[in-house]
Structure formats: C-alpha cells, structure tokens
Amino acid sequence: MISLSVLGVELAYWQVTSLRVLGVLLAVVLPAGAFVYLFLFKMMSFMQSRLGPMEAGPFGSMQLLAEVGKFLQKEDIVPERADRRLFFIAPYIVLASTFLLFSVMPFGPDVYFTNLDTGIFLALGLSSVSVIGILIAGWASANKYSLIGGIRAAGQLIAYELPMVLAVVGVVIQAGTLNLQGIVAAQHQGEIFGFSGIGNPFLLTQFVAFGVFLVATQAELTQTPFDMPVAESEIVTGYMTEYSGLRFLLFFIGEFATAGAFAALAATLFLGGWALPFVSLDDNAMNFIGPLVLFAKILMVGFLIFWARFTFPRFREDQLQAFAWKYLIPIALINILVTMILKVAF
Amino acid sequence: MAEDTATASAEAPEIVVDERREELRAVFVAHLGDAVLDSVIKPGDGLWIRVATDAWAEAGRVAQDKADCKYFDFLSAIDWLPSPYGRYEDSALDVPFPPPMPERSAAVPGYAGGESRLQVLASVAKTGTDLRVLLKVDVPDDDPRLATWIRTYAGAAWHERETHEMFGISFDGNADMRNLYLPSEFEGYPLRKEFPLLARVVKPWPGIIDVEPMPGDDEPSEGEGTEE
C-alpha cells in the first residue's frame, strides 16, 4: 500500500498484492538474468579470449531465453532410488529463500515490499534457509557425490554465516539501526568531515567489513574459490548432479538470483543502496531512479563476485574452514571492536 | 641369435668393448654366480642377462642393491612360439580355423638364449646414466610361475598383473593378480601366440594392397626434401 502511494492512486489489496508479486519476480529474475548474460556469458568469455554466445539475438543477448527454453524441454529425470518428494521440493526451498531475501530489500524511499525494523537481521536469517534445500537435494538424490556436495555446502554455509553476520554488525553499529531503509538513510545523510556530497557510504569507513562480507558472500554463493560443494572436477556439481530439466533450471536461477540478492545486500549496506551520490532529488523521483541506481550498484558488486569466480582455483574444504575461523572471524571481530570504540568516541 | 659372452666382441670387432656394461655384467656374475645363464652386450646400447628361474627374485635384489639400478622400467614377457595364424595376411578362406599349433621346437629364443617357450623380461636402469639392464628369465612351460619382484621394486606390481593376464604367468608373493585391463571373467591369455586376434578372424585383412611409395622413389635421382 505504501509503496504505491507515489502514483497517487489507491489500489485494492489484491491489486497491490499482485503488483508486489510481479515486482518481486522482476527483482529476482532481472539481476539473475543480467548476471548470467553480462558476467557468465560475456565477461567470462572476454576474459577467456573468446566471444561467448553470438548467435541468438544481437551479441547473443537472447541466449538466455534459448537456454531457458532448452532446459524446459529436457526430460526431468529422477533417480530410481531417490526420495522423490524431497527431490522435487529441494529446488523450491532454495528458490523460496532467495525470493524472501528480496522481501526486505529497499529499492527507493517508498519502493519496498516490507520495511521491517529488523530488516537486515531477517535477511541474514532467511539466507540460511537455502542450506536446508541444498542438504535435502544432496540427500534425496541418492548419489554419493550429491551427498558429499550437500554436506560440504552445509558445512561451508554455516561456517561463513558467522563472518557475514559479524561483518554486518559493524555497519549496524555505525548506522544505529537494523532497518535497511535506516541504513540507506544513514549513508545518504551522513557526511565525511563536513563534506556531504556523496553522503557517507559505509564502504569508506567499513571497508574491512566490506571485504569480509564479499568473501563470505562468495562462500555463501558457492562461487569459486569456494565452490567445492559444486566442484565439477571433484564431485561433479555436487548436490545438483542428479538434477535435470526444469529443476536444474530452478537451481541455476536460484544460484544467480541469490548472487543478485547478496549483491543487493552488499550494495545497500556498503554502497549507499538506492541513494544517488552528489544529487539530492525528491522522494518521488527517487522512487523511479532508486531501483535503477541499486541495479547499477548490484552490477558493480556482481562484477567483483564473478571476477573472482573466473580467476581463482578453489580451496580445499579444510582450508576453507581454517580461512573462515582463523582469519575472517577474527578480522570481523576486530572490526566490530574498532567500530564500537570509534562510535563511542565520536 | 643367441650369442655367447665371449663371442660378443668377436661379432662386432669394429666397436670397442663397452667397459661400463662389462662392469655392470660383472656385478651380476659376481653376486649371482652360476645363476647368470647367458648374457649379451650390444656395445653402446644394451645389456641382456638371462638368469635362472629360481634366482629371479635374487636377481632383482642384486640389480637394485649391488648394481645400483634403482629405477624400475618395465616387466613383461615374450612368447617365443610362432603364431599359428601367421600374420593374418592371407584371406581367411585359405586357412582352417583354428589352425594347428606349431611344434614346440619352433619356439626360437632371441638374445641371451633360453629353453622355455615363455620368457619374462624386465628392464631396470640406473638413473642419470644410459645404463640399463634387460633381465630375462625362463618360465617353465608346464607351470608358468615365477617369484615376485614387488618387494624390491614396488612398481612391478602392476606389470606383474599385466603379465599375468596377458601371458598367464603367475607371480608368487604378489597377492593382487586381478585383471588390469580385461573383464574379470575373461578366458585365455591374449598375448600368447595361440590366442587369435578376433578382429582379424571376423573380418580378414585384405592383405597388403597398397604400399606407400617412398619419397623420391619414383624420381630417378635420390630423393631430397627441399624447402621451397
């Protein structure tokens, strides 16, 4: 209801609800599609001195649709000894977690689905739900590679939940709120030594947290160098091994949509969210520009995520755990400490 | 081809005696004594030594410890019996299947002689040099078994497995005699000469119908490759 006040019309509840459903679909699919086309197809290809898809549409831009069409046509194979019901449910759980992540994301002063006091807290909680989907997928496939992949994923996601939360705590302390809108506002209205042109994006003060958050994001998304749950040269795409057709597509969309969601979180927490630096427009204008600004920032963060993905080899499982517990968590804790001291001092 | 030690230099008088290989052979003779049945040296190229069947394991130990040939190269076998199928160059219609086995006496061993039809051949080498010993041993016809080398050369395990499945030679002490290549139910020993090459039996070789001309063969002058 609130999100629609900008148009100056009162809509019925069901109309608002259906608009929201449309909006969240757009919010999930658009970054996911953009990531796949821009980064997976094109950027990766250029980095690897090749062109990437070129046939479907101008510069292969329709390749994505072709891929979706291909997956929809494929047979949906279920292994004989699989737990059929759980096998079917698993991708939806992963996808649901991704969709729910966007429910707390602010896209503009009035453009959001919900504006909860505990927005970031809920987002982190919801992101951990996807682990269950992955575990179920790994277990229900009745495949050892899948099981290993699922267990690796669970261990990894649990381990990296912690540095991620701790990295966010620094931001929360500085902003003084758990509300994502409040965090955006704190960055937008803040100033650096009296200069308020670009506000105070927490990237500048919380760069350590940003680094930890990005690394943890990389791990949460199971992207290289933390992709051992889906390592194709070891355990043959892990928990996704037995999936095909539509259900594989759901996992695939889930992977990139979650990348989009985490990039959006990072953009909101550290890059100022939907707010535009240097200019100060009224709320109504920002309601339209804000989503685009956020989208641009999502692409920036996505670029970093995928750049690392295409460059690095992957860690080993124990090295990954050691990295989380020995480096990331202490660094994040020190960051919290320093932030607290500075917060109290100034 | 069996040459005696004494005649090796006489056979090739224009080449000087290969002292390094002579020394290497002397090590084997010194430690194995009469078990060294025969040996051949091709100067500058190779050393073949045939040892007695029951001295096979000892020969491995001598090679490793005394002769300092720590490098295990390969282990295989040779079936000296001529193939009853010939070279499959004739049309299958002319040859009865299966053809009669050749006489046992038709098995003529190569370098360093030998009495048995099957001979095991192993190569060990001295790293950092071109010195290499090709050890041969006769395997009894009626009971093809031999001592294993895996306690001296760990790498021999797979080679003995391969030799077992290809020639039917057992190696005492090597417990792992599973087939390496072939299905476990496979019958017969493919590299023995009596084993038919099934592909050629099913579809006979058309014979040598085209011979590629050598470069310059059709030119009157000696063929020279020229970079244009």
């Binding site: - | 496979f186 099934l198 470069p215």
Partner: protein
C-alpha cells in the same frame, strides 16, 4: 565361426557385467566412492574406487582397461610402417613423440640411420608435441583445481603449435609422419619463421601461467606438500618425466641416453625440483615447456640442409634381433621393446608407456589424503588414458 561368435559374446557379456558392478550406497566400514569411469577428473575412462572415512581416503584402487585396445597384440600383425599409425593413438596429445622411439628401434635393428636433417626435424617435431601436450596440461591442471580461465588460455596458445604441426604433417593430432629412415616430407615454405613466432607466444603463455596459476596462493596451498613422492619411491615405481624430476632425480633421457635425436648438439637444461610434491611436478613441467621452446628456436636456427630420407628398401623387412629404445616423451619415458624375426612386421612389441608406471603409484600416493587432493594428485601425475591402457 561359431566359436568366434561365442567368444565375442562372452567378452561383451563379461564387460557388461563388470560395468554393472557399482558400489552400493551403504557400506559397513566407511563410504566407498566410485570415481569414474566417467568422471571429469580422470579425463578419460579411468575408474578410481576410494574408500572414504569422512573426506579422507583410507584406501584407493585404480581400475583401468576401459580403453584397452590391445596395441601389443595388434602390432604383431602389422607391418613396421603400419605400426606408427597405431602408436600415434597412445598419447594422443603428443602423437609424434610416440612414433619416434618405435622408428628408432626399427632403425637400430635395420642398422639404418636417418640423415642429419631428418634427425633435426624429428627433434623439432618431438619438442613441438611436447609443447602441445604439456601446455594443455597446465591449463587442465588449473581447471581441475577449479580455475576455469587458464584452460582457455592453454587451448588458445596451444593452437599455434598445433597449426605448425599440421602444416608440416597434415595432421593436427595424429601426424603419422615418421618413417623408417627419415621423414615423410620436408618442412613447408615459411614454416621456420612462423614457428619462431609461435614460440614467442608460447613463452609469453608460460609467463602468464606462472603468474596466474603458479603464483596464486590458493594454487600453492592446494599443491604444496600434497602427494609427496620421495625419490626412492619414485624410482622403484618407475615414474618418469616430470614426476621423477619433480622428486629431485636428475635423469632425462634426452640428455643421458640420447639415441637418434640431436639433443647433444643443443644448449638446454634439465630442470629438477627437490620437493617431490604436486607443485614441484607441475613446476617442472612448466619449465620444460619453456626449455622446449628454446630447443625449437635453436633447431630452427641450426637446421642443416640435405636429404630427409635414407635409402631404405621399398618393402621393409627388419633383420632378426631385439632392440629397446626409450625416449623422454611429454608424459615421461616411452620405450618400445621390439623383437624382430626378420619379417615385415615385429614378432613382439612391448610398449613401455610412461603413464602406466606413473599412475601405478596412485594407490600408494592416495592413501590418507582428502577427496579434493585426489584431484590434485591425479592432475599433477598427469596421465593420458591411452597411454595407460594402450
């Protein structure tokens, strides 16, 4: 022919039964993980059965034979010139190098020597196949460890070498170019300059890989100290090539037992690494690519003129005798033990391929490592299925 049909049927049935042997999901002590015969890490059809305790391997068994083509048997019914076609397919990434030792063994038995120019070009092509083979290894190694991009760089730059091989031999993968007594053809026009340009690219590729892959800290932490082979073990298993030199054994047949090739007239270096771990094996291979580009450059500069074919009879009959020639191939030592009985074809050929020995150490080496290290170790041992199974 009823016997043959029955035999064939039995063979097929037995093979199918073997294929059906699949490991059950639950086992009593630990989990049995069956990798292969279709698994990306085995690049081919190798099967690895690992018994796991958690992510740790308690024992591992390698099963090969899915690509066994019976070359030793086939060689017995081929004439000498025909054998090169077969042996091309053993190590299919460095095909020309497979032909050389066999041809040299046959030449030794016939007491024929190739003219100098042929020897030089042989050495040249030999090193080019080494570069084509090992540069792909470097890319593939990175791919096995999860980095996608270096593989594409490897394919990109290897293409230059393949082009050069193709323009001489007419075949990118299976040249079948070596002949008893020399070579089939001479080099085409302008080839020398192109090759030297390609070598410059390859050296740049090596530098790039050294920075992108070998210098990467994740790569180092994945490979250093993983799969350590002491020198004595390496020798008793008969490892060869970079696997042996990576364990600090300074032995290269090109330098120490050079037969029929011109390495003794060139200025190059044998690289060794004392550590014996996965990293050292990979590092030695990278240096060998570098060294090979230098060798190629030197050969391009010093190529003598003259004939490329010695006088050999039209139908080749090799005198009776035995010869064993091994050369330092891209994968390691490759040797042919040729027994001749004075016929048009060999009486028995024992193919001593490098990968067979190299992979036979895997059960020893994989004990106690973690599942991801299986990949590292297999990749660093660098085998080619055709070279194991022959």
């Amino acid at each position: 022919m009823t016997l043959t049909d029955a035999q064939q049927l039995g063979y097929i049935n037995a093979q199918a039964a073997d294929g059906r042997v699949n490991v059950e999901l639950e086992t009593d002590d630990g989990m049995v993980l069956n990798m292969g015969p279709q698994h990306p890490a085995t690049h081919g059809t190798l099967r690895l059965v690992a018994r796991l305790d958690g992510e740790q391997v308690t024992s591992a068994d390698v099963m090969c034979g899915y690509m066994h083509r019976g070359y030793e048997k086939l060689c017995e019914v081929r004439s000498y010139p025909q054998v090169t076609t077969l042996v091309n397919r053993i190590d299919w990434l460095g095909s020309f190098a497979n032909e050389v030792p066999f041809i040299l063994a046959a030449e030794q038995l016939m007491e024929v020597e190739a003219p100098p120019r042929a020897q030089w070009i042989r050495t040249l092509l030999f090193e080019l196949s080494r570069i084509a083979n090992v540069s792909l290894f470097i890319g593939d190694l990175a791919l096995q460890l999860g980095a996608q991009t270096p593989a594409f760089y490897a394919f990109r730059d290897r293409e230059f070498v393949l082009n050069q091989i193709e323009s001489v031999t007419g075949g990118r993968f299976h040249p079948n170019f070596d002949r008893i007594g020399g070579l089939k053809d001479d080099l085409p026009k302008g080839w020398i300059a192109e090759t030297k340009a390609a070598m410059v690219r390859l050296r740049a590729f090596c530098d790039e890989m050294e920075g992108l892959v070998y210098g990467n800290e994740i790569f180092q932490s994945r490979t250093r100290g993983v799969g350590v082979i002491p020198a004595a073990i390496a020798q008793s298993y008969g490892l060869s090539g970079a696997n042996l030199r990576g364990s600090g054994v300074d032995w290269d047949l090109r330098r120490d037992a050079n037969v029929g090739l011109v390495y003794d007239q060139l200025d190059w270096k044998v690289w060794t690494h004392p550590d014996g771990d996965s990293y050292s094996r990979c590092w030695v291979r990278l240096q060998e690519v570098r060294e090979a580009t230098k060798i190629v450059d030197q050969i391009c500069d010093g190529l003598p003129s003259g004939a490329i074919m010695a006088k050999v009879p039209r139908i080749i009959k090799v005198p009776a005798g035995e010869a064993y020639i091994a050369t330092e191939n891209p994968l390691g030592q490759m040797g042919y033990y040729v027994v001749s009985k004075g016929d048009t074809g060999p009486f028995r050929v024992k193919i001593r391929s490098a990968s067979f020995n190299n992979i036979s150490i895997a059960p020893w080496l994989l004990r106690g490592v973690y599942v991801p290290d299986i990949i590292t170790i297999l990749a660093s041992l660098y085998f080619i299925l055709g070279d194991i199974d022959r």
